[in-house]
């Protein structure tokens, strides 16, 4: 089924730069395809040859463990060759150097470039300069589409649907690419999105993206099916957005007391890395009955396999590319 189905599906985009602009059909296709890989990843033999002979380059300008590993595993399990390039931000200059690096890599004929970069729009810029598919693995505070897809897959497997669910995204919204991608995806798929954070961590005009904003956890969590917690991205904060960790945790950290406002079976999610005692209480994070945090990581590999597969299958034949 896995290999056979690939002939019939078509992903309508050359790159995966963000969730914004994807149709419900696009998202459903990606999720359905991902679903088929979940079981495969649980087998002893996890390797397929769908992408045999293909080259995938992970180009990471920011520290990352789970995303990079997840893409690497996804590529390898599909039989492709995967190269990891980690570039420490301190040693490069932005803009021109990004393009120079991209041009160099392009000359090596990769099939997919997976880019993580601290600046919003970096993946888009790269996609305009190279001949291969580009997957955005996080660009600044803009988007992180595979994270939103793996979150959606996790929710869909647990709840059977996305339509009509009430999802709260809590914490550092202003700096979060995960929040933006999730807002787009959940809205596209008919879920309702609430944002909960102190005013300083809510970006201006975010209501226009189709969300309800709350500044009180108990009010905001009421009737929620899903509670997504975000990490405070201290490294992106210039000046202070809140007074102290203890005050933040007091009002916005997820503990059982605040969680009691959500639906009794509300699912807890976190894109990681978690800061225990900052945005989430350890007890809650480790509550296997409620928390889907580890499952999210598992879904990540499946989702990235689907993305790599659909994008490469979508590519024009090599000789038609501008070589």
């Amino acid at each position: 089924m896995i290999d056979g189905a690939s002939d019939t599906v078509q992903f309508a985009h050359r790159h995966l730069l963000g969730i914004e602009g994807l149709s419900p059909d696009d998202i459903t296709l990606l999720l359905d395809r991902s679903e088929s890989y979940v079981e495969q990843n649980r087998q002893i033999d996890k390797k397929k040859s769908v992408l045999r002979g293909r080259t995938i380059i992970n180009l990471f300008f920011e520290a990352s463990t789970r995303t990079r590993t997840s893409f690497e595993l996804a590529g390898k399990r599909l039989g492709s060759d995967v190269i990891n390039m980690s570039v420490s931000t301190s040693s490069i200059k932005k803009g021109e150097t990004l393009i120079d690096t991209a041009m160099t890599l392009n000359a090596m004929h990769p099939d997919v470039l997976v880019l993580r970069h601290p600046d919003a729009g970096a993946a888009k810029l790269l996609s305009e300069k190279v001949n291969c598919a580009v997957i955005n693995a996080g660009d600044g505070s803009h988007e992180h589409p595979t994270q939103a897809l793996l979150d959606a897959l996790t929710i869909r497997r647990r709840r059977g649907r996305l339509q009509g669910l009430m999802v709260a995204i809590c914490g550092d919204i202003v700096h979060s690419r995960v929040a933006r991608s999730n807002i787009h995806l959940l809205n596209t798929m008919g879920a309702r999105v609430r944002l909960i954070a102190p005013r300083t961590l809510i970006p201006e005009g975010v209501e226009r993206l189709g969300v309800e904003v709350f500044h009180d956890m108990r009010q905001g969590l009421e009737d929620c099916d899903i509670v997504m917690m975000l990490r405070l991205q201290i490294e992106r904060m210039h000046g202070n957005f809140f007074p102290s960790i203890r005050e933040y945790f007091h009002f916005f950290g997820l503990d059982y007391e605040k969680l009691a406002s959500a639906k009794p079976d509300a699912l807890i999610m976190h894109p990681g890395p978690m800061n225990r005692g900052v945005e989430i209480d350890s007890e809650v994070a480790d509550d296997f009955g409620r928390s889907a945090i580890r499952e999210q990581v598992e879904m990540g590999v499946a989702v990235r396999m689907a993305c790599l597969e659909l994008l490469t299958l979508n590519q024009p034949e090599a000789e038609q590319r501008n070589l």
Partner: protein, 438 residues
């Protein structure tokens, strides 16, 4: 004067009073009954048939019985500067001034940027049993204008609003974040509106008098710039701001325009800014060195107009005690500020005495209006509210003699001023905490 258990308070009838309650517009002869710590009843017809047995009677002699004054800007100096003033000395001065609720600035040592200090002040004030003391929390840690203080938790501990005290929050980005963050919890930011880079070298209002005296001036623009800037930031963040002691025509105009646009902006002023002008500095009188500085006559007139037309919401004493060491200095080196608890009522009553405002309108600026700015449950006569009352004779003439005031520090800018209006009795939670014979 220490507080006693409420059971022993019983019932007290204040008869033969002129009841004035600005919140409801009441101004009529009548009586008021307190039961324990609260107002049980009041009105024109109360005790028309005489006071029943078992109720203690206080004859008000036809004088005004009003809700106790609410003073939203005082410096009490405790903890940290007890040689200038204490919660006890400030409390005694406040009761003598007819003030039953006051709100102190966080510029103590330690600064009120930690919950424990809020609790310390609340506990000390409660034990003293004098005027009720609430406090402002700091906007920024250590009042340094950089890192936000724990406003959410300070508010839970009891801080009623947030300010950096006698310093402005100068950095626009910090102020933006402060307004925005405070808005999370619907908290109010109180700003001392002064651009410090324009004011720091100055000693008095810039202009002819400063030039003649050879003193560096503080331009009016220092105030106007911050008021106008912060109004923009309020508009941007959806926060709430209150400007303390406005003193210039343009700042008042800016507040008026902001209110007309529906923004959450309020302001107060203090008696020196409507009762004095820069000529009070005279021959280098350091008691007239205030912050903001006393302005020229046109600005004083603008403050009067702002109070009359409602642009200025309230009057606060801006009580700032300083010992002699801080004031007996060359003018430029002397500390800023004057005491004001005991002169708040009589100096404000000048509006009534000279026919510029009704008695009710003057008292509104001292009772329910400041209480409403901070959302305090005070400043009005209402059944069930704490019995915080002031009895005063609006016509009694006296002369302010700084040395006779109860305040520990004596730095009054009104020293020597003949005034009218004398507090006869002050009641906090049903207990008489101040009484003047004859």
């Amino acid at each position: 004067m220490a507080g006693k258990p409420s059971e022993s308070l019983g019932r007290v009838a204040y008869v033969n009073a002129r009841l004035v309650d600005p919140a409801s517009g009441l101004d009529a002869p009548g009586a008021l009954l307190t039961e324990g710590e609260v107002i049980a009843d009041f009105g024109a017809g109360l005790f028309a048939e005489g006071v029943p047995e078992g109720i203690k009677v206080v004859d008000c002699g036809g004088h005004c019985l009003i809700p106790g004054l609410v003073d939203i800007r005082v410096q009490l100096r405790e903890p940290g500067d007890e040689h200038k003033g204490t919660l006890a000395s400030g409390g005694r001065a406040a009761t003598a001034g007819g003030i039953t609720t006051m709100v102190c600035l966080p510029n103590t040592n330690p600064v009120i940027d930690d919950m424990s200090v809020v609790e310390f002040i609340a506990r000390r004030a409660r034990l003293l049993g004098l005027t009720k003391v609430y406090c402002y929390g700091a906007v920024t840690k250590g009042l340094e204008g950089r890192a936000l203080a724990e406003m959410g938790m300070l508010a839970e501990a009891g801080a009623v609003a947030f300010t950096d005290g006698v310093k402005a929050v100068g950095d626009a980005q910090v102020m933006r974040r402060a307004l925005s963050y405070a808005g999370t919890y619907r908290l109010l930011i109180v700003q001392h509106p002064e651009e410090s880079s324009l004011a720091e070298d100055g000693a008095m209002n810039a202009g002819e008098t400063a030039t003649r005296l050879g003193l560096q001036g503080i331009p009016r623009a220092a105030e106007i710039i911050i008021v106008e800037r912060d109004i923009r930031l309020v508009e941007m963040t959806g926060g709430r701001i209150h400007f303390a002691h406005v003193s210039t025509a343009e700042a008042i105009e800016a507040v008026g325009r902001a209110k007309a646009r529906g923004l959450n902006v309020t302001c107060d002023t203090a008696p020196p800014y409507f009762a004095l002008n820069e000529t009070a500095v005279g021959d280098y009188r350091t008691f007239a060195k205030l912050s903001p500085p006393l302005r020229a006559e046109a600005d004083r007139q603008a403050v009067v107009d702002g109070l009359k037309n409602g642009t200025i919401d309230a009057i606060a004493s801006d009580h700032a005690p300083h010992d002699e060491d801080a004031k007996r200095l060359p003018f430029a080196q002397a500390a800023c500020g004057g005491i004001g608890l005991e002169t708040l009522l009589p100096v404000s009553l000048e509006f009534y005495q000279n026919g510029q405002m009704s008695l009710t309108d003057v008292l509104r600026l001292l009772t329910c209006a400041p209480a409403d700015v901070l959302g305090l449950r005070a400043g009005r006569l209402e059944k069930g509210l704490p019995a915080d009352l002031t009895l005063f004779d609006p016509d009694r003439a006296w002369k302010v003699v700084a040395d006779d005031l109860l305040s520990k520090s004596k730095n009054s800018p009104f020293d020597g001023r003949p005034v009218q209006g004398r507090v006869l009795r002050t009641v906090v939670d049903g207990r008489a905490v101040y009484g003047r014979e004859g």
